[in-house]
């Protein structure tokens, strides 16, 4: 096991990783930008280093700053958390060159999985079902239109380098393909400096289901069950749960098996999530691999009892996976709600500011992950996640009931601060959600309803 891990991240996930480090007897180093001075992880970790100004480009996204911080503190490994550099093959490679273990897949694996077209090809070759579409980047607009016609409308144009719901556009018919192509290419160039795009069939009312997998250096790979993340705002997840509701057991098993096969084929060491789209006929299609810890990993930890971060540390340190597939026995159901400092009535605009009141739920079968305390500032520079509230129950209904109870205990206030608790509560009482028949459109529909209804805050 490592002596000292530098956590190349901030916020709740940095604290999450530091906690498991402490539990395993591994020293931890927090890094912070000027805007994050004095945050919870900097107080919790054994050491902390001021790595740059608030702008992420010069702090949490600066490989030189992070590696210098690792070097000066003598860290022998770096945990990248999620977001920022967590899936950056260049950073992973730079770590390797510095003799520091990057806690995640090897950089060539990251590079391959980060190229959406290459990943699609790899998975198709491994026998995973993929959506109809072009497995090569579109050469130009005409090529894109041709591929779209061959694929059959509606289609989605995606950036090769995209991810996290950014760099994609839908074309419902040939009249829309030109705009979709140009917009996606422009966005891709702007966001990733890589303007390549490809085309895939678009499933309008599909469910977003993902499988949590773990792999080690000895070729072992296991899955920890699936998660449904269909409740999204602007392609960003808001409510996640496990197991995914409404899946027949045959589909569930086949999807999990496919995910394990996929990460084996990729030679992936560490934790990853294989994302699928599932249509109304329970057909599933590979979408992408997130080769890192996910925000929503706690629901899987609640049902399986497996500490995903611990597994990441162990396999990165060259240990075999501490569990076998037979010993993974998920129990019950778990739901996570992301509480954000944002205004659902103003297109989810982030609302930074001081948290004069900040009270989170606790008690039976409730887990909370947050790095905030009353009096803290929500900085304007990063994503506005305040806390993740996670509940467990022997059944989905019981887990949801507990979440409703838990959300009722939340008290968040401050000058300018808004939050999404009422919207989350509305999701949890929506008939479609309760029936498990909702799609990724649920939130838009609900928000419209809330807006026209009685004042939601």
């Amino acid at each position: 096991m490592f002596r000292k891990v530098l956590i190349a991240n901030r916020g709740e996930v940095a604290l999450r990783v530091a906690r498991t480090c402490r539990e395993l007897g591994v020293a931890s180093v927090a890094v912070y930008s000027t805007a994050d001075r004095g945050t919870a992880v900097t107080r919790f970790a054994d050491e902390s280093v001021h790595i740059g100004p608030p702008a992420a480009g010069r702090s949490y996204l600066s490989a030189p700053a992070l590696l210098e911080a690792a070097r000066r503190t003598g860290a022998d490994a770096v945990h990248p958390g999620y977001g920022f550099l967590s899936e950056d093959p260049d950073f992973a490679e730079a770590c390797a060159h510095e003799g520091i273990t990057f806690i995640g897949p090897d950089w060539p694996v990251l590079a391959r999985l980060g190229d959406k077209a290459a990943a699609r090809e790899l998975m198709a070759a491994a026998g995973l079902p993929v959506l109809p579409g072009g497995s090569q980047p579109c050469a130009d607009e005409a090529d894109c239109a041709r591929t779209a016609a061959d694929t059959g409308y509606p289609v989605i144009v995606k950036a090769i380098a995209g991810g996290g719901g950014r760099g994609m556009a839908i074309a419902h018919d040939p009249a829309e393909i030109s705009v979709a192509f140009r917009e996606t290419r422009a966005t891709a160039e702007l966001l990733y400096g890589d303007d390549r795009v490809f085309v895939e069939r678009y499933l309008p009312r599909a469910r977003h289901v993902e499988v949590q997998v773990l792999g080690d250096r000895f070729g072992a790979a296991v899955h920890l069950g699936d998660r449904d993340c269909s409740v999204q705002r602007r392609h960003q997840k808001l409510v996640e749960e496990t197991p995914a509701p409404g899946l027949c057991e045959h589909t569930r098993a086949a999807m999990a098996e496919a995910a394990v096969r996929g990460v084996r084929a990729a030679g992936l060491v560490g934790a990853a999530t294989v994302e699928f789209l599932v249509d109304a006929e329970q057909r599933f299609y590979f979408m992408e691999v997130n080769a890192r810890l996910q925000v929503e990993h706690p629901v899987t930890e609640m049902t399986t009892g497996v500490d995903v971060v611990e597994c990441q540390l162990r396999v990165a340190a060259g240990e075999p996976l501490p569990i076998t597939q037979e010993r993974v026995r998920p129990r019950g159901a778990s739901v996570e709600c992301r509480i954000n400092a944002e205004d659902p009535e103003q297109d989810f605009r982030a609302t930074p500011g001081a948290l004069t009141e900040f009270h989170l739920p606790s008690g039976p079968f409730v887990r909370v992950d947050t790095h905030f305390a009353p009096g803290d500032q929500v900085p304007p520079f990063y994503d506005p996640l305040l806390a993740k509230v996670v509940t467990w129950g022997p059944t989905r209904a019981r887990a949801i009931g507990r979440m409703v109870r838990a959300l009722g205990e939340v008290r968040v206030a401050g000058p300018g601060i808004r939050h999404n608790v009422d919207l989350l509560t509305a999701v949890l009482s929506d008939p479609d959600f309760l029936a498990g028949t909702h799609s990724t459109h649920l939130l838009d529909e609900l928000r419209d309803r809330l807006r026209t209804g009685v004042g939601a805050r």
Binding site: V49, E68, R72
Partner: protein, 148 residues
Amino acid sequence: MRQTQDGEALVAALGREAERLVAARPGGLRRVRVRSGEVAVELEWDPAPAGVPVVDQVPEAAEPAATAAVLAPMVGTFYQGPEPGAAPFVRVGDVVAEGAVVGIVEAMKMMNKVLADQAGTVAAVPVRDGEPVEFGQPLLLLERAGVS
């Protein structure tokens, strides 16, 4: 070492606390003093007519607004000269012009020049040659020219 770190952390906590208190009560702040044992920093705001505070860091018992720090632009290793072991760019007592090179911060084998962001006389070089520095750490104290 531990003691120093603790002291630093404590002072940092004091600073944060001061910041927070100031932020919570806008307008007309006059003086901030951060003290740890025998070391103290006192900040005093000129009675600014426009309400924009003028911030100066001064050592205790000195005239107001006489020195300024050159801060580390990144995490790395500080060198006083152009390469490890070379003669320093500046020494205490030297007069430097705005934009003059006063040191190097090496990060990932890249040598990054540290420039004086104003003219002045070098009052102190609190970081030793080859010492690791964090972002924002004071590397040089300058007594500002024209301020007595």
